[in-house]
Symmetry: C2
């Protein structure tokens, strides 16, 4: 086990009616003037936004609003948010929505405390050490941003998704009521479940030895999603299944199942190029890339894929370890297909002729991607080709 730091200071209010605590929590965490940041119509249509507004009014907390966040959030709206915060003296940002809204809120939070162009934080050209406090009301179980110090933004100028990370970005509180995820369409629900599994897999597939406790935690979360995802696809209003997925989504990315080990993140980065170029739903892109990655790396470093087959996918033992590992991958693919996820380039509108471009964009100045197997350009291309031609 490697040395590590673990810090997850977010206060979680979980369950039915949890959003009724928003005013109380804002006060507890020192908010006096709030920017409510949200996406499109769903939080309006569902009535959640009205509930939040009424709750803040009742608590006498003045607020401004900025809607319009889109999936794979763009930098344009972030600049607008930073302007409002600076001009109006906002001291707390309340994100109401999914990962894109929360990530956009974190970008505003960091940008509002600096004279630097916020995009330079994402481009690695400038550092941030302060951010306005952020709280969240989560409506999509997927990104884990409600409990993480991470934020990903689509840098439109260079056409690439870029991320930042810092403890100051960790939400002060997050309100998780599974009921608000019940109206999410099946495709988005399944994509969220895939993203959650990917967050765990990127940590699980590690060469670090002696990390049994995190191995077992990873398997616990993966098995939870395998059980609950089909239930919510079948019955979107199943409260307990939604609740299990929602809590697993937070745990999958606050790093409790990732500490003490070298993590991978190749699948995420390989996918981010698809999301940036084709505006694919991140989770759907991961459903295309993850099994392709598994099929490629299993030939080079099968160990953890065998564990995955046995302990997560719970396949019957085959004639040898490699065959067992392959059964695990096949069962995982069948699972993704069963919940309506794509497995091929065609299904997400990605094009084989772009593979060289995607690979170049991905690697940039880096020689390799990932850690479980260090992938060079030729390896990455093979993974993309496999996803294109299966």
């Amino acid at each position: 086990m490697d040395n590590f730091q673990f810090y997850s200071p977010t206060y979680f209010e979980f369950g039915r009616g949890a959003e009724d605590k928003v005013g109380e929590l804002l006060k507890r965490f020192g908010a006096s003037k709030v920017l409510i940041h949200y996406g499109g119509g769903s939080v309006q249509k569902s009535g959640l936004l009205d509930k939040v507004r009424a709750n803040l009014e009742k608590a006498d907390i003045p607020f401004f609003e900025l809607g319009g966040v889109k999936p794979n959030p763009r930098s344009g709206l972030v600049y607008e948010g930073i302007d409002i915060c600076k001009k109006e003296g906002i001291d707390f940002i309340l994100a109401v929505g999914g990962g894109s809204v929360i990530d956009s809120s974190k970008a505003i939070a960091a940008g509002a405390c600096s004279d630097e162009d916020f995009i330079n934080f994402y481009r690695g050209k400038a550092k941030f050490d302060k951010a306005l406090p952020v709280g969240t009301i989560l409506t999509i179980a997927a990104s884990g941003s409600e409990g993480s110090g991470n934020s990903v933004i689509n840098d439109e100028e260079i056409g690439k998704k870029k991320g930042i990370r810092g403890d100051v970005l960790r939400p002060k509180f997050s309100i998780l009521n599974p009921e608000w995820t019940m109206t999410l369409p099946a495709y988005q629900t399944a994509a969220g479940c895939t993203d959650i599994m990917a967050h765990v897999c990127e940590r699980y597939f590690s060469n670090t030895e002696g990390v049994e406790v995190t191995d077992r935690l990873c398997e616990a979360l993966l098995k939870t999603i395998l059980k609950e995802a089909p239930i919510v696809i079948e019955n979107p209003k199943d409260y307990d299944a939604r609740a299990n997925i929602m809590w697993a989504g937070m745990l999958a990315h606050n790093n409790v199942c990732g500490v003490g080990r070298v993590q991978d993140w190749a699948s995420h980065h390989i996918e981010h190029e698809l999301s940036a170029l084709y505006d694919v739903t991140h989770g759907a892109g991961l459903a295309v890339i993850m099994p392709a990655w598994m099929r490629y790396v299993v030939n080079i470093n099968p160990g953890k894929l065998v564990d995955f087959a046995r302990n997560v996918m719970e396949v019957e033992e085959a004639e040898d370890d490699m065959a067992t590992a392959m059964r695990g991958i096949e069962k995982f693919e069948a699972f993704l297909k069963s919940i309506g996820m794509p497995l091929t380039f065609d299904e997400i509108g990605a094009k084989e002729e772009d593979i060289d471009y995607l690979t170049e964009k991905l690697l940039g100045k880096n020689k390799t991607e990932g850690n479980y197997v260090k992938l060079e350009a030729e390896d990455v291309k093979k993974i993309y080709h496999f996803a294109a031609n299966r």
Copy 2:
């Protein structure tokens, strides 16, 4: 799944050399005058205390010291600590040791911020809402106090262990270096592992339905201890095994595997009476009580005991669920025995003739104990008798 709040804001510095960060962490969390609180000879003999002193001196942080905490910590020393804090203007307490030292530190922390006699907090006669900040350097993996808001003290006047809980008691930081647990004697190591398993079991044995994610997390932690405990008994210097146990010990009690469900805690409370009366090591007392509790409740409410047998103890299926559950309990008893834990009253110096007294002390004004099965006085006596006469 029930509604819940989850809050675990402690910063963890984990791994080899982690104690070298103590001065830096004290400053980060605002300490300007520190009380170092510790137990007996082991932190002196190991050299840890000297390292801590040198680190604080180097960081220019003035400190006072109060040693002498004993297992099942007494109230006397707490009064002494409170006096020092008030007189010297201490603003941070650094606990160096195991659960008893940390719990004693939390008691001092709460008492130092109040004019109330601190013991009244534990007796439920007064409330606390403030406490001095506490940091810990953990030397025994067992209590989970390094990540919890709990503290248990032996109330000598009434001869009973009493607990308090509050977010203000959660340590600001905890330093976990598995190397400092390597010199712990085998018996204490095994008792710590038993305590960790008990913290998980008290959460696992629940009638709340639809809590798959916490079920799987509980199983993950239990399986970790089943695997690692025999390794450290065999080879006390196995770093990875010590590390897995140490991190599992924190996760077993910061409530990440207990949220969203009604918990039990009968075994703990039944054991606390043994610790209070006979000064038994808490984990050893639990090894006597837990299987006795299981053997009693399995006849009334077998469900979760069957899951425990299958998913944790991984027994072969027997002719029916009850027989499978019994195999799980037997295998658990064999495990406890194999790591050197007692299973009977005799082995811990407890006396059958005290059972009526123990039961009366336990229940007090309450009619029942526990939740998975609500135990009345007659049930509790049967569990004690079983432990006495097996």
